[in-house]
Subunit: 491 residues, 2 copies
């Protein structure tokens, strides 16, 4: 879920100053409206050490009317608190209706720490997360708006900062800092699980890249304004459950995760032939080994129209014994499929132990085409992230290798390919009016892909963003990933 | 949660035959309407061994149009199923829209068994239950109606049946039967946890007393008709989340849990004095020991108007050092309390380690007076059961002793006491117009109390139903329970 926050986003000083005034005014306005509407607002400030959470809290006090704010820092438990159930302190700290509570540290801190330090097993961790979901459900049902911010740094960046801080004014580094920097990977994995399991439609997470302070601060402002305005606009507290997770308006955050894909990557014909042959040979053997070890594989192919999904799939299937795999081409659902819950049509084809199912388009249609074209209602596609994560978690827990490819091309490359298809007779059938229509919504799809990757790329079922302007490069990247993931599973 | 299914309910053959025809017709009608409305219906048939689940399934086939039914028995997993994630078989078995799936065994069976056999720890069990909740949420969001039936037998009754069966046609007893009968208590405890954690407003459990087959069968029919009609009446699938858990119409099930309270229990003045003194002496010591051992206690007093809550509380507090306890009289919420979620006002007063808080009326007001008088909306009081259970679970997990008393009197006894209050000058202030108004809604309150006990009486925080027509008996029962629970906690 952190890929989208490792793009190296930056905002120049001049741009920041130009936008700050407007943001400040909009935020004050939204705050006042939330106050009049008697909405209790919770802003959860969390994330990695060194990301500047303290600075953000100070900024919020500058941007908003401090009289309507209540800041709670949940450091060590007091005696009073230890003598009661863990949530007592959080109940105590809840803002009343019409006020904004800024929680510096929250109910997430302790479980994540406990798990990172291996003080509790995974099942207990999951149970704590369930309790948190339950608590947040209750708050939302009661009319609260919960804005959960997670500030992220890359490993390199965090290391740099912690070191600098330690060298500089030593003593100001929290005692946990050093341990964290060593356990970055573990912490990341555990945070990802926490965020994923508590990322629900009515209380979604906002992961913010915190490397550049100006970008970070503008993002915070934009998110607060979006969420506050969406909530103020929605009719009654009881419908608080279906607030839209921050859409549209985001300006500085517009550059999605796809902008990080190195589209200029390419392979020469020679190099391509050689590498492809190598990986295909490897894959043939690996697929048989997986069959013997009864490991099954699910591979999902998504991508822009004309990005080359079919070609990439063929390079994979060519390398496997035909008895071991199945390709499911996902088209419009059948009558029978329509009469069941959305995921039913995909569950049907889950491979049995030792086999491979390749989905040419998949359950991600729900949060891509169905979202953009309005085939699914907002509540439907919003809760789909959670349903999909649960589905894939069941797969990976069962030992299934889950591969997910997004084949990315530039709009210019797509146009060229469309035009080629029109020119070449035997390719013409591949191009439909729908393709042209989809193309017009490039921006909407781009946003949907970013959200999809942010909300469903998980430790055990990560997205692979494939640079596909060069078809040869794309095919090799796909089959190479296939081999690596199978190898790891067989180890 | 099983108290309400141990009342010895019976239906005479003649009564059964008189009602069966009407039920049959109503059920067919509801089935047809659900079919037309394209609603997928799931009936989960579960409960203890020997309760006649097979008979119920046969009955449903007789009462409904078998062409619209799909029965799935989830016995041992097949090879095909074992090779995929656990829920694959359940996805496969889902009925399409417009049809009714009868699940004989379900996603509940395996986790309960695994936990009863100690094959999984409690945290894993809870995680499985969370997954189930997630799955059922998804189904309801998709428009499904889920009717969960749990057939209950007392330990004695189950033993009798299993023995009879074993003696008679040996071989027909399932191999698990004998083990279950030995582990009745454990199974009961674990089932209770499973039911409690998955008893949600939009997919509530119906616990049915199965001792008398005719009563059992009529209850099943009534519940199905209620739930189907409520769902058919509700507008859109997306609002399926707020279907009312089977209200009103229930005829045979009308006798609530309060009918089991032996209201004729009484104590002589002599016996009362002696016993009370004994228990008060014991309580004095126990409260100090609890303080030393840092065990805190929360005691809730609810009951009919004029049932003698005040007197019972005084007999308890008289016996404790005044520094150790606090009595919270719950009246109308303050402004500050109103501006927070419902349970906030009760969380505030949670005692610290070693102390006692007595709530004179409590959070149960939400599902009693607020439900009956309409101060809380249906979704509000329906989700309150879950919120309350979670609150009390946090208390008991923290080591708090949670006592809950319902002081029960008959309507006749209440009338006498009201009249006495009117006569005696210094008692007059205790009687208000509201008391008379509440009295007129005796039936509604009776039903609310039954639901409350059924949904919130748990292993670690059970309700004590106090026979309070005789004040002396009531006071002794309360203080005795207090002592016993403290003793157990101190052991």
């Amino acid at each position: 879920m952190f890929e989208a926050a490792e793009l190296g986003q930056k905002v120049k000083r001049a741009d920041f100053e130009a936008r700050e005034h407007e943001l400040h005014a909009a935020l004050l306005d939204a705050q006042r409206k939330a106050q009049v509407a008697d909405i209790p607002v919770l802003i959860i400030v969390s994330g990695v050490e060194g990301a500047g959470k303290g600075d953000v809290v100070r900024l919020l006090h500058r941007w908003m009317d401090a009289r309507g704010l209540e800041t709670q820092a949940f450091w060590d438990e007091t005696d009073e608190e230890r003598m009661r159930p863990r949530f007592w302190r959080f109940w105590r700290g809840l803002p009343p209706r019409g006020r904004i509570g800024i929680l510096f540290g929250s109910w997430y801190t302790q479980p994540i720490l406990d798990r990172a330090m291996k003080r509790i097993p995974e099942d207990s961790f999951d149970r704590e997360l369930e309790r948190i979901r339950h608590f947040e459900d209750m708050l939302v049902d009661d009319g609260a708006l919960i804005i959960k911010l997670w500030f992220h740094l890359t490993q390199k960046e965090q290391y740099k900062r912690l070191e600098r801080e330690a060298r500089g004014k030593s003593g100001s580094v929290s005692p946990l800092t050093r341990r964290f920097s060593k356990r970055y990977e573990r912490f990341r994995k555990i945070s990802e699980r926490a965020l994923r399991k508590t990322d629900i439609g009515h209380a979604p997470w906002h992961v913010i890249e915190a490397t550049n302070a100006r970008y970070r601060d503008l993002r915070v402002g934009e998110i607060l304004i979006d969420r506050l305005n969406a909530r103020i606009g929605s009719p009654a507290p009881s419908s608080g459950r279906v607030t839209t997770p921050s859409p549209a308006l985001t300006k500085v955050g517009a550059a999605g995760v796809l902008s990080s894909v190195p589209l200029d990557a390419a392979l020469s014909q020679n190099r391509y032939r050689r590498t492809l042959r190598e990986y295909q040979t490897a894959l043939y053997a690996l697929a048989w080994q997986a069959r013997q070890r009864r490991i099954n594989t699910v591979a999902v192919f998504e991508g822009w129209d004309a990005a080359g999904k079919g070609g990439a799939i063929r390079r994979v299937t060519q390398a496997m014994d035909a008895r071991l795999y199945r390709v499911i081409s996902v088209a419009a659902p059948t009558d029978e499929e329509k009469s069941h819950p959305y995921l039913w049509r995909f569950w049907r084809h889950v491979p049995r132990a030792g086999y491979v199912t390749i989905y040419d388009r998949s359950w991600y249609g729900r949060v891509l085409v169905e979202r953009v074209e309005g085939f699914a209602s907002a509540p439907e596609w919003q809760r789909a992230y959670n349903e999909i994560n649960s589905f894939e978690e069941q797969l990976t827990e069962h030992g299934t290798v889950v591969l997910k490819f997004w084949l990315h091309i530039s709009p210019e490359e797509q146009l060229q390919r469309f035009e080629e298809r029109q020119r070449v007779a035997w390719k013409r059938h591949k191009l439909t009016d729908e393709d042209w229509r989809n193309r017009e919504k490039w921006g909407d799809y781009d946003r949907a892909v970013s959200d999809m990757v942010a909300r469903t790329s998980t430790e055990r079922a990560p997205w692979t963003l494939v640079a596909a302007n060069d078809k040869r490069h794309a095919r090799v990247q796909v089959i190479k990933t296939f081999c690596e993931r199978l190898e790891r599973a067989l180890r």
